[in-house]
Structures are given as C-alpha cells and as structure tokens.
Symmetry: C2
Subunit: 333 residues, 2 copies
C-alpha cells in the first residue's frame, strides 16, 4: 500500500513507506473544542516539542477566530492564535516543523487578523468551510496566498452533502491555490468503502490541478485510524492526527498509531508517547474525549456529536439506554 | 458490501444486509482471560438475556478447560463450563440463541468432559489450536461431531505462521466437519490489506469443502471493528464480538458497533447497551481491558499481549515511555 511505485506485491505494501505523505498534528486545535481552547502554555509547548522531535510535518496550534464572534474572556489564547501568544510558546520556531492555524469561514476576520507571512511564525492557513461557504473560503485562500502562506481547504461535514453538489464543490475548490483538499468526516459516520469512494472522487479533481487530498477522521465508530489507513491506501497524502486521539467528542485518529503505521524512518513515536504521558492523559478525566456509546449513536445517525457531548458531560452519562431512547426512539432533532 | 447478490452499486453495500452472516458473542469466554473466568451468575445471565433479546446467533459462555491443568480453586465456573453451572444460569436455554464453548487443544479432556449432545445445553464446540496442534484439533472436532455438536476451528496466532505452513494447515482443517474456520488475529497485529489477503486465502480452501470463514479480531491497534468490517467485505460470515469489547488486553470487536453496522433487522442493539451499562462497564476499572499504548506496542510488534497486560496491572502503568523503552529498546523477549 505505502509505496506502490518502488515495491510490489503484498509484503511491500507496509514493509516500505510512501515518501509523499505529510502528517499534520491538530491536538491543540481540535482538542480546543473540548475546553474552549484553554490549554496552558506548558501543554502547548509539550506538544510542540514532541512534534519537532517526532519529525511531524505540521502542527496546527489553534484557530484564528474572530474576536467579534468569540469572547476573549470565555475562550483561551489558542482560539485566536495571536502572534504574541504563538511566539511566547514557539519562539521563532527554529525547527523544520511547520506551524498551521485553522481559519473558519464566517468566523474569522481574515483580512485583518491574518498578518503578512513576513510578520508571522505561521506557515499554513487551513480554511475550514461548509459547502455553502465555498465562495468565502476561496476568498480566504486567496487572501492567505497573497500574504505568502501555504493553504489547504477542509470541506466539513461531507457525509451530509449531496453527491452532485459535492462534485460541483470539488471542481470549484480545486481551482484555487490550496495545496490540499481535505476529506473531513466531521460526524465520524463513514466506513472504509465510503472513504475509498470519496478519496477517489477527491483525487479525480485534485490530481487534475496538481493538488493533494487530505484526511481528517473522527473516532465515533472506532474507525478514526482505520479510515485514515483506508484513505492512505486510496491515495490521500495529507493526514491529520492528534496525540492520544484528543479532539472533539470521540476524538481523532491517534498520532501514536499513525506514526508507527507509516514506517517512514523520519518519524519517531517516543517523543509523542512522552508528551501523551506528561501533558495529554492528565487532561482526560476533565475533558472526557474518546469513544463512548453516545458518540457511536450520533456517528451511526450521521449527526453532529453535540447531543452526545452534552450527555457525556451530564450526570446521566452512564445511562446508555436512556440516551439510545432519546436519540433513536424519540428522534431528537 | 453486505448484500452483493441482491443489490448493486455503492449505496447497496451498506443500505442492505447479508443474511448469511452469523454473530457469535464471546464476552464471557474471552473476557474470562482478564479475571480467570470469575464472573458471577448475574453477569452471565445479563449477557445471556441480552444475546437472546438482541437476536445474536451464538453465545460462547466459557472454556471447557481440563481440571488437571486448571485448578478449580483458582478459576471460576466459566473456565470449565460444567453442565450444572450452565443450567443454573441458562436453564434449558428455551431460546433461538445457540450456546457455544471453547475447547483448547491440549487443555481440554474432551473425551470425558464433553458430554453427548443429548445431555447438554451446548450447541457448538469451538476448537482452538495453534498450528502445531492441528492433529489434536481434528480429533477434537471428530469427537464433538460424533457426540452431536456443531463445530468450528479457531486457528490462533496466525500472524506468526509462515504462509506455506498456513496453506498446509488450511488444506487439512477444511477436510474436517467444522462449519467454519476462523481467522484469529490473536495479537491484534493485522491491518485491512492483510485481513483481505488472509480471508481470501481461507475462503479458497473453505469454499471448496462447503465451509464458512470466521473472524476473531483484537483491538490492539484500534482495528478490531475495522478489521471485522474488512473481513465481512472480503467474504467472512461468522463474526466474533463482545459487549463493550470486553476481552483479553485491548479487547475485541465491540458487539454494539457490529450489530448496528450489520443492518439486519433481526438484530437489536438496545438490550446489548442495557447489559453493557448494568453488567459490563461496572467491571472496567477492575478488569482494565481496552486500548492503551502498551497494547498498541505489542500489536505493532506482533507479539502476545502478556507483557502489556502485566504492565497495565502494575504501578508503572502510566509510564508509557518506560514500557516503550523496555519493549522497543531493550527488546524484551
């Protein structure tokens, strides 16, 4: 699977590796959805140091959220990723690790809040949008490109997009300057055959314009890592993962599994384990991410996990049958 | 995927279902490896009732272990599955659920401990063996068949078997009376492309003699459910799963995920959730099954999880880097 050009046959598929693959850590960015981005500097520094030592390609440190939409006194620094906050923790980033931020369409004052590249430690601006926000997303990509950044587009909630509209969206977004178009399984609702079908569709449009396809998977059905493997087999080269799977709801593809699987000698999982042990696992009880039955149910129903997140934070959290009845029988909206 | 004969095209693959599939619950049997089979009657009864109500095809209640090898005062009743113990909890099993026991080669006094079918509530004897035990396994299958039981063979630790010997083994075991030959990923070390390759190999031999292929997956790499899906796609029809994934080490394919995935209207996940909530989850802290980094490391190394089980039960359990150094750097035998 991993190196179809230089090896052949079954064993070559994992005994070798595929050099084109890039790994993007989004522990702090996606995990920030579980704590309003309130990570202390020590935690962010631990993940940053681990990413550098592990040979990871990109680290997404947070969002570039609008201060008009998100109150500064409610959200932590990593929701806004101001330059001063980045430099306080990353310095001038004297490493090969590239720094990413996520810019959500309609939630980012990109004209003013994204500085010219020459004034920023950021390397990559990832624009996240729903299908109805593509014109804004394309303007955001142009703005960031003009300012000197690499860009990607994360088209969210694709499992709820009609296929004829997805084709239209992919034709549009592959005309812009983004390096990669991400297949995003926001609800953790897809399984391998769907991933294969969609990655092939994305590649059809992306390859025609010299772009790559990326993967951002969630673990609602315990398929976050498996779907990432399937996407690699199908040809995706940009891979999102997080330390210990930290992320919204059931979490993401775990970085420790992905790095070991990839077999590229430039990656080293030991620093990731050290950071998981020292900085990530101590947050588990409070943040409560990871697979659970309520997340499974929203995943199978192809719904946003918000009702399960709320349930898991309530005193009824262990009453799995009550949540089942609520969401399946009562058909919660 | 799930009904290739009656539907076609992408959507038909999961929108429909495959009637030939049989689901086997092995919660108590495999989970017994984490507590020396010391389940109280209430727990076993909870799982049994849930299996009946959920429409599950088989429930494996325990091992038929030799009392010469396993001390009665150390192991619980479900290690031996004596008829009196079975009937105390299951009665005469007045249901459509079939009862299974596992008989390990060289660890079972099968001539004496397996009664004639007419005297037993058991329906299926699953013979488990390593490749060097096939002659014994075949004799055990003959013994159980002659006594009136359905039989299956679970060929364990296949990820450490040389391919030319596996071919020889499959040619031999598909000559016996077993209904299904199981692909068993004992170390949770395989990923989708390997599952596909092996299921196709097993099917090549099994189909020639009218047998089915089964799957028994472990979750060391968070692939227990994903590999079961891959095996279904590849053609396996007998599927092992456990409530909340309870099982040795990282555990097994979770029943709640599998039943929802299968889409067969005869299955109902609600009773399974009820039993998980009432009987299974309350054991988690003590039994400690489920994915963790030490299990991941033994999985990637294609090794028995015993060193990780020991680590996770020790006071050092949270020191992931120490386990990494022990197993990767020091190359523990």
């Amino acid at each position: 699977m991993q190196n179809t050009t230089e090896t052949s046959g079954f064993a070559g598929r994992w005994v070798s590796y595929r050099e084109d693959i890039k790994v993007l850590d989004c522990t702090i960015r996606d995990g920030g959805l579980m704590n309003d981005s309130h990570f202390d500097d020590k935690t962010v520094k631990s993940v940053y140091n681990a990413c550098v030592e592990a040979g990871i390609d990109y680290m997404e440190v947070g969002y570039k959220a609008s201060k008009k939409v998100f109150a500064r006194d409610r959200y932590g620094a990593w929701r806004f990723s101001d330059e001063a906050d980045l430099r306080r923790v990353l310095g001038d980033n004297p490493s090969n690790l590239k720094i990413s931020v996520m810019a959500d369409a309609e939630k980012t004052d990109y004209h003013t809040d994204i500085l010219p590249k020459s004034e920023s430690v950021i390397d990559l601006v990832r624009v996240a949008c729903y299908i109805h926000q593509i014109p804004i997303a394309l303007d955001m990509v142009k703005d960031a490109t003009d300012k000197g950044y690499e860009t990607c587009i994360n088209l969210m909630s694709v499992s709820n997009v009609q296929e004829r509209e997805l084709d239209c969206a992919l034709e549009l977004v592959t005309q812009c300057d983004a390096k990669a178009i991400y297949l995003v399984d926001s609800f953790g609702a897809l399984y391998s055959e769907q991933i294969d079908y969609l990655v092939n569709k994305y590649l059809h449009y992306a390859r025609a314009t010299g772009k790559e396809v990326g993967l951002h998977m969630h673990n609602n059905l315990q398929l976050g890592f498996a779907n990432t493997i399937q996407g690699i087999i199908s040809g995706a080269n940009y891979l999102d993962a997080t330390f210990a799977g930290l992320g919204r709801g059931a979490g993401n593809c775990p970085m420790e599994l992905l790095l070991r699987f990839l077999h590229n000698p430039k990656y080293n999982v030991r620093p990731v384990l050290k950071s998981i042990q020292e900085a990530i696992e101590p947050m588990r009880e409070k943040l409560g991410w990871g697979f659970s039955v309520p997340y499974m149910l929203t995943g199978f129903l192809n719904r946003h996990p918000r009702s399960a997140i709320k349930w898991n934070a309530s005193e009824e959290k262990d009453d799995l049958v009550a949540f089942y009845d609520k969401i399946i029988v009562e058909e919660e909206a």
